[in-house]
């Protein structure tokens, strides 16, 4: 069972590294907006500089 003396510190290190990574992500606002990134791949056209056709704006009401 001596392998435990190695493995337990290793798991502890993994946990500490995981917590450190996660704290970094939280501090850099990676968890603030969880909705927008999910929609991004659904866009069918790449970003362009053209403004959208005017007809779409005020008249396209349901």
């Amino acid at each position: 069972m001596n392998i435990l003396l190695v493995l337990i510190p290793v798991t502890a290190l993994v946990v500490i590294a995981g917590v450190a990574l996660f704290f970094w992500a939280v501090n850099h606002q990676q968890f603030d907006d969880l909705d927008t990134p999910g929609i991004l791949p659904l866009l069918d056209e790449p970003a362009s500089d053209a403004t959208p056709a005017p007809a779409e704006d005020t008249t396209g009401k349901p």
Partner: protein
């Protein structure tokens, strides 16, 4: 001149930009067009393509856009300009300490939750070895090692993750009340200390796994609640949105200049348009004005101020425009006060409050039971007193009881926000479930203006189509209901022409330039300059250029597109609709008969409407009032539940309990259904925790439940109740929309 150049002023930048430690800046912008997903995404991509932009986040429910960018490569006015070019007018918002505090609170809760989760997994693994060791191969010293590992791993969990419970318990004790934190903190501390003692002396049972699971599950529930509560915080947001950053300074020659509100000096004369927020403390120079000071004083009635009276920054002008002579400005007035308002608005309303008293009673009983158990066992068998008392404390902990209401409410609020209903007062949902009468305003609420072709009267021999196309070119730049009706009527004519430099003159109309020709659209006296309009033209909308009137538009009224469906759904739910309108009887009767409403009253002044409301309430009805903004403020404030159509950003709307976004009424029926569902779920949660406690506490008190089993039972019970609560607001299958 660049219309957005005023945003480059250093005073404004200091108010709007939040510096970040990486040298970039962050700003929040209010964009009303975010309700449409396609436009929101197009806008996001356009902004992402600008130089120096690092991050763009869209919060559709709050109509906010958050941008992080490098201010050395892109100026704020260029950003605002870009939004305007995308037909999504954006207004930078003052950066808000409460907003920062909210983000910090969420980050903090998430970190504590994760640490608890990591520790829990480790402790569970160690505990599993100990359980296996009891039957099998692990020798005695290894078991001792794993007990120590369990202790060491639980320390960060108790010291860091569980810290909010201890802080909450101390806070509750200091306020001399019994809350949910006290039994949780007691249970965690007692179980941990007892297990630590047993580890030190090397014998006895240890419960590190139970305590870590307990803390983790409670933190998870708290995090979900916190997140939903922050999302649904519409009232504080409304206060921020209404904060006036810009002011219109009037020069001695009568011209207006847009300047930052902070740059106003005492003695400046400021032009305030109808619906705008007063940017600085000052003295009224116009004859009279009606103001809504609701968020400042809590007074829901409009206040009348006369020439020479003092106006306070942060109040909303209901009729205008007026001129104001500034007395004080800067940090001392508007900004500081609005910031304070926003914070107060956020704190004032929370849905947990009404169940607090119940929880206190519950906790008192739990503590009493625990003490009785300990006392009983001390007399009979002192060795078992601690375990039994601990089991009672953990079993009877009112977590399920306390978690149901917040979980169900938060879930409901999130579901409602998705349907375009923002709830500013969580307790309103409780009252909404009991509503049996709905009092509607007519114009702007049930009915919307519509332009028939027959309503177009060309005055200079143009074709009707031509007159309409000219008017629509100006009107499509405005969000006013009448302008929108015109633009809608013109939409079958094909692509609209684009007028330039369109400007709204509050209370009068619009003016703009089309192919070098200045057009004015609006009230007759405005459109014609100062020439007197003929009697026939006075009640119509007039389009004119420098040579005189071009056409008159007479608008009719049609029911809002979802009014009929909403009324049907409300009737099916047992809510009787009625109308109180300030309009003429003929028009009210026409709309009421279209919509099948028998109970209507016309020519009602705000006081009449309030009297009608009181009469209904005196008859024992629970009344929902629905209006479209500030002129309905008295009945909105007096009703059991109030709902307002939020097409603008006025503070007055923030007085309503429910805000209906996107110009849709159907959220009302949905809100009513969800409110009923929440009531049922909360009752289920309470019944369940009562039954569970009645069954489990006797066993625990007589020592048949070891603390670890109590911990698991409690956690599972809480989890079950929370999962049940999450059913609130789930869309029935047939109502799922594409």
């Amino acid at each position: 001149m660049n219309a957005h150049a005023a945003w480059g002023h250093p005073l404004l930048l200091a108010q709007v930009l939040r510096p970040r430690h990486d040298g970039r800046s962050e700003a929040a912008l209010r964009v009303d067009a975010l309700g449409e997903p396609r436009r929101a995404l197009a806008l996001e991509q356009a902004i992402r393509a600008l130089p120096g932009v690092q991050r763009v986040a869209i919060l559709p429910a709050a109509r906010r856009l958050r941008v992080v960018w490098d201010p050395r490569r892109l100026s704020l006015d260029a950003l605002v300009e870009r939004c305007a070019a995308m037909q999504c007018p954006a207004r930078p918002l003052p950066h808000d300490d409460a907003d920062d505090a909210r983000a910090a609170e969420l980050h903090d809760a998430l970190k504590r939750l994760l640490v608890a989760g990591m520790c829990m997994m480790q402790v569970m693994a160690y505990a599993l070895v100990i359980y296996l060791g009891a039957v099998d191969f692990v020798d005695f010293t290894t078991r001792g090692l794993f007990r120590w590992l369990g202790l060491v791993t639980t320390i960060p969990l108790v010291a860091y993750s569980a810290q909010p419970f201890f802080a909450g318990a101390i806070h509750e004790l200091r306020e001399h009340r019994l809350g949910i934190h006290l039994p949780v903190a007691l249970a965690v501390a007692l179980v941990f200390l007892a297990s630590a003692y047993d580890t030190l002396r090397g014998s006895g049972e240890i419960y590190f796994d139970s305590v870590s699971m307990f803390v983790f599950l409670l933190l998870a529930a708290r995090y979900v609640e916190l997140r939903a509560r922050h999302q649904g915080n519409a009232q504080g947001d409304a206060a921020i949105d209404a904060a006036p950053l810009l002011a219109q300074r009037r020069h001695d020659d009568g011209t207006l200049e847009t300047v930052p509100a902070l740059a106003l000096r005492a003695g400046d004369r400021v032009h305030v348009a109808e619906g705008d927020t007063v940017p600085a403390d000052g003295v009224l120079e116009s004859a009279s004005a009606r103001l809504d000071e609701a968020l400042l004083t809590g007074e829901s009635h409009p206040v009348l101020r006369r020439h020479g009276d003092a106006l306070v920054a942060g109040s909303v002008l209901l009729d205008g425009p007026v001129t104001l002579r500034v007395e004080r400005s800067g940090e001392a007035t508007a900004v500081a006060r609005i910031g304070a308002l926003a914070i107060r608005a956020r704190q004032a309303r929370s849905f947990a409050t009404d169940s607090d008293r119940d929880i206190a009673r519950f906790v008192a009983r739990v503590l009493l039971l625990t003490a009785l158990t300990a006392l009983g066992w001390l007399l009979v068998d002192p060795a078992r007193a601690f375990d039994a008392a601990l089991a009672v404390l953990v079993v009877a902990c009112p977590c399920a009881f306390a978690l149901t209401a917040p979980a169900a409410f938060t879930r409901a609020l999130t579901a409602l926000a998705r349907h375009g209903v923002l709830v500013t007062d969580g307790t309103a949902l409780t009252r909404l479930a009991r509503v049996d009468t709905a009092l509607f305003d007519k114009t702007g609420t049930l009915g919307v203006p519509r332009l028939d072709f027959a309503g177009i009267e060309p005055l200079r021999g143009d074709a009707r189509e031509e007159a309409l196309a000219l008017a629509a070119a100006v009107a499509r730049e405005s969000s006013h209901p009448l302008a929108r009706a015109l633009a809608d009527a013109a939409s079958p004519l094909g692509p609209a022409r684009q007028a330039e430099r369109v400007e709204a003159v509050a209370g009068a109309g619009l003016r703009g330039t089309l192919a070098g020709r200045e057009l004015r659209l609006g009230r007759a006296d405005f459109a014609l300059g100062h020439a007197l309009a003929s009697e026939r033209q006075r009640d119509a909308l007039l389009l004119a250029d420098a040579d005189g009137a071009i056409a008159a538009f007479r608008l009719a009224e049609r029911p809002r597109h979802d009014a009929q469906a909403t009324l049907d759904a409300l009737r099916a739910a047992g809510v009787a609709p009625c109308i109180a309108s300030g309009d003429a009887p003929g028009r009210v009767a026409a709309l009421a008969s279209t919509l099948g409403i028998a109970d209507w009253r016309a020519r009602q002044s705000p006081d009449d409407k309030l009297a009608r409301l009181r009469e209904l309430r005196a008859q024992g009805h629970v009344v929902l009032a629905v209006g479209d903004g500030s002129n309905d403020a008295p009945i909105l404030a007096g009703a059991d539940v109030s709902a307002a159509l939020a097409s603008g950003t006025g503070l007055a709307q923030a007085q309503a309990d429910l805000l209906l976004m996107d110009d849709r009424l159907d959220g009302l029926a949905r809100a009513r259904a969800i409110a009923g569902e929440v009531q049922r779920i909360v009752a289920q949660g309470r019944r369940w925790s009562l039954v569970y406690n009645l069954c489990a506490v006797p066993f625990a008190a007589f020592g048949f439940v070891p603390p670890w089993l109590a911990g698991i039972g409690m956690s599972l019970s809480s989890l079950g109740v929370v999962l049940n609560a999450l059913r609130a607001g789930r869309a029935p299958r047939q109502e799922l929309r594409a």
